[in-house]
Amino acid sequence: DVKVTQSSRYLVKRTGEKVFLECVQDMDHENMFWYRQDPGLGLRLIYFSYDVKMKEKGDIPEGYSVSREKKERFSLILESASTNQTSMYLCASLTLPRFEQYFGPGTRLTVT
């Protein structure tokens, strides 16, 4: 079974703090994704990565950056957290050749 884990289920940070959200998958997948989920807006893609050190912007990359130094780990970084970044953050990993995405349990981030 594919296993995708995220570093925290719940996180509370202050405005202006630097925040790291980590995602790890154990299936040697090349493709990994970060989404945020907000009521009424559904899931929106922030960034994705096809391979180590490769990254592509999704639909809402502003205010975020990512790091992929190792194949199994994809980190989402909020350089200076703001209250409008309070959200549920979901990481996903992609299986090939079926192109199915599998999700981690999510991190509910609150920025105060």
Binding site: G42, L94, F99, Q101, F103, P105
Partner: protein, 111 residues
Amino acid sequence: GIQVEQSPPDLILQEGANSTLRCNFSDSVNNLQWFHQNPWGQLINLFYIPSGTKQNGRLSATTVATERYSLLYISSSQTTDSGVYFCAVELKGGATNKLIFGTGTLLAVQP
């Protein structure tokens, strides 16, 4: 851009009832997946179904790619089926593996 619409937006069922959820999409797609998000927020992959019909226990799904819709059937519903059901599509010719999600159907199954 592509529109992915799900209906109904919410649904209340009595345990044991059957239901059909619908996903319409406005453009040709390479990939369609159905997910269930449980009350704790975890998204579970239900089906990878760009076309045809698949069944897994009490759940089945059908995608008619030429008519741009997919259906998710839930039979003999149970309280553990409660949560939000999302369909997500990957555009044909679009950025590889990038999924676009519908806004979901919120299902509540009452005992």
